[in-house]
């Protein structure tokens, strides 16, 4: 019994070691927007090969990540899917470097291949009974989608209250963009708004994409910065530099546009 509790205590203590306060130059924790997952995972493999620094990721909605960093979560780098969350972090004095833009993204409407809602164009989202799945307004892609709908209000082919009609059709406010993609992939919703980069080969097998009118496309800009409380400032800076330069092809390969 005593031996078991001793071993258990040792195990618990070992769990504490990766937490802040203990600098480890060979590893790095990156908090990144959920939409960056595939591109960043591919880029990080290359980064680790070149620098020997292992990268751990926490992917979530940028608003969640910003909240976690402000509560002292052990992040070394923050990559956000919009300027709003990055500015919040900067205003709160959480950043260790000036945020730099490293990618841009575009919105796309996706629907299940079976087309259960009869959605063939963005304008169809306002039809009564269409089940629209969006990210919550506080999640960057949810905010972008709503501002795109507002831009379409009253333009050719769209009613003046188009955005209100779409909002009435929203059946769920998901916590991040990947959750929107999965609800559509699973065929639960009739249509959802994600980034073009979220239509991965896997998602494309079960969904169909419909482009947004170019004039409604928002500037979905991705900024990256080191976190002030980092315990590995050189490593964090190296990762930011890598994303801005050698890492760019990985982002391009996943459909992200140049900043």
């Amino acid at each position: 019994m005593r031996r078991i509790s001793f071993v258990a205590a040792l195990l618990c203590l070992s769990l504490l070691s990766p937490l802040p306060g203990k600098a480890d130059p060979s590893s790095l924790t990156v908090f990144a927007a959920a939409s960056l997952r595939e591109a960043f995972e591919a880029a990080a493999a290359d980064f680790t090969k070149k620098t020997g620094i292992a990268v751990k990721f926490s992917f979530a909605g940028s608003d969640t990540l910003e909240q976690q960093i402000s509560q002292g979560a052990p992040a070394d780098v923050f990559a956000s899917a919009n300027l709003t969350q990055m500015k919040k972090a900067a205003d709160a004095g959480l950043l260790g470097s000036e945020p730099q833009l490293f990618a841009r993204n575009r919105l796309v409407l996706i629907e299940p291949k079976t087309n259960p809602g009869g959605v063939n164009a963005v304008a169809d989202l306002a039809k009564a009974g269409v089940k629209v799945v969006l990210a919550a307004p506080t999640v960057p892609v949810g905010g972008y989608a709503r501002s795109a709908f507002k831009k379409l209000n009253g333009t050719a082919g769209y009613a003046a209250d188009f955005s209100d009609a779409v909002e009435r059709n929203v059946v769920s406010n998901e916590l991040d963009v990947k959750a929107v993609a999965s609800k559509i992939s699973l065929g639960e919703g009739d249509a959802g708004v994600v980034y073009t980069t979220d239509v991965t080969p896997l998602v494309a097998t079960s969904t169909r994409s419909i482009a947004f009118p170019p004039e409604s496309q928002p500037d979905a800009e991705y900024p990256i910065a080191t976190v002030k409380a980092t315990t590995n400032a050189p490593g964090a800076q190296a990762f930011v530099t890598f994303v801005l330069h050698e890492g760019q092809p990985y982002l391009r390969a996943r459909g992200f546009l140049a900043p």
Partner: protein, 255 residues
Amino acid sequence: MIRAAVALAAALLAGFIAFPIAGLIFHQSPAAFVVALQAPSAQAALRLSLLTTLCSLALTVGLGTPLAYILARRVFPGRALVDALVDLPIVVPPAVAGLALLLAFGRAGTLGPALHALGINLSFTTAAVVLAQTFVASPFFVRAARSGFATVDQTLEAASATLGMGPLRTFALVTIPLAAPALTGGIVLCWARALGEFGATIMFAGNLSGVSQTLPLAVYLDLEGGDVAGATALSVVLIAVSLAVVAGIRSVERR
């Protein structure tokens, strides 16, 4: 020496639980608390949580009582399997439960087309919230009721039968009162678990104010949006309710 170590260990765990809860309660002034609770989304979440948990509780008690009785009294092939199955949702992670519900009852799920033919569509509805809560919370009632029924002295039921009471009257007037403490404890635990349900709900029912955004989802969304006051106000409500529930169980147990 050992006494001191025991006392220290006990104080550490009790303090570890009490400290964050106290922090939540004293995070803001009572006035800010009242303001946050009056927000329409907070009101909607409170109403929805109350409604859905009462529905899932009714469903659980209505269907779980016969199940618990059968498991406690009858011997039938596969009983051990059913017994284990009933407890399974306790250990299954809620997100897995949500995915399983989606794949079974969702629009594109196994039963989706059949349900659609009947005019039933569960995804993104309040009914889906109730099903998610029932799935994760019902084992707490069934377990308690099963052991409650198992401990009832069956000679008393036999005596009731010899006095001319039918099986239903015997069940209602003898078995239920004797198993009452266990049943009450199960009801309270089941309701509390349903109230706290998050993972299966957001997976299966989605998140929409007034339809599927229960208290735990509203707390999460408030926090996401930076509304710490709203999130803590709703959290305090949840804690107050949980505290009342625990106190309720204690008083039932003492009787």
